[in-house]
């Protein structure tokens, strides 16, 4: 089973097309293994990006160095998954 301990989902608000292009570049960096839940499309639509724990530092440095604003949407993905699993078990019982 794949676990997502410490993974975060960042909500990213790109200011302009240039920042959107940068986000696409970020998404293409295979070594970071990031997963766009909502893709960067236009400045009107925020993007949501799941970042594995080992890539958090690199991704946040990338965003900050390019002045791309973001907030943390989900602090720990696994925590939510555990909660979901618990709810399902409870409901089944």
């Amino acid at each position: 089973e794949r676990l997502f301990v410490g993974d975060q989902v960042l909500r990213i608000t790109a200011r302009d097309e240039e920042q959107i292009a940068l986000l696409r570049v970020l998404g293409e960096r295979a070594e970071l293994q990031v997963d766009f839940w909502r893709d960067p499309t236009s400045p009107d639509h925020p993007a949501d990006l799941r970042v594995p724990f080992p890539s958090l530092q690199a991704v946040k440095i990338f965003l900050e160095s390019h002045s791309i604003s973001y907030s943390i949407m989900i602090e720990d993905v696994q925590e939510l998954l555990d909660e979901e699993k618990k709810n399902m078990t409870k409901s089944r019982r």
Binding site: E1, R11, A30, R38, D48, I74, V77, L81
Partner: protein
Amino acid sequence: TERSISTFDFASYHTIEEIYDWMDVLVDDHPNLISKIEIGQSYENRSLYVLKFSTGGSNRPAIWLDTGIHSREWITQATGVWTANKIAEEYGQDPSVTAILDSMDIFFEIIANPDGFVFTHSSNRLWRKTRSVNAGSDCIGVDPNRNWNAGFGGSGSSNDPCSDLYRGPYAHSEREVKAVVDFIQGHGNVKSVISIHSYSQMLLFPYGYKRGPAAHHQELNELAKKAVRDLAAMYGTKYSYGSIANTIYLADGTTVDWAYDNGVKYSFTFELRDTGRYGFLLPSTQIIPTATETWLALLDIMVHVLENPY
């Protein structure tokens, strides 16, 4: 084990076995309205089931609904279960549902990507694609919403099997997609295709593979506008609407573009709740509110299809 609709918890997420068992119960409870059709098998040989809601007639005009083509979007399968039950309950009660089913059939595929769905329960909750093996790659799966023969192979899809947007080796390479294509083309009288995704609160229509407007853009836009307004009336959930290309981005090979290009005028795709607090991990407490508000928009579209034959 007692099998009963009354003990099924619509406010919880369920496994494929539970949902498939529930379908049988629903069919048993409404033998004159609902039947279960197997339209094919998935890559891992799971049945692709469609619930057929019909009050009779032969090859009546039909509405196609599907949920869960991206397996991790659990709110959609759960909404599918609730909605199918709602259709069954409301026939003979609600005048709109009754009128629709008195002259049209509804086909509902609740788990459009069963292999992916099982994988989300057993191995990777955040799996999106099918589970087919890609020759020459260690990476598994194809994005079934980039695999349709509508602008296949271009923008917004990937030729990298490791990508979540991998389009597959050729259009309709995925059994899960081909089964629906064969079914809709074989039927020949499908008037509406509504494909349900999550999240980001949008109601979209063709095109995704090009920026130019669809021939029926104005009508689709007006209908979408009404549907999202009615949806919002329940809990204030705000949806945006428009063509896929202009509302989100250029995306090739999508379900609704294929449907539209194959003569299904009323082709829509939903992106259900949420506002971005939970993403694909929407708490189960939100299933019924999500399904309830979505129902209002779905009904708008279905009634419009009924009242505007073509």
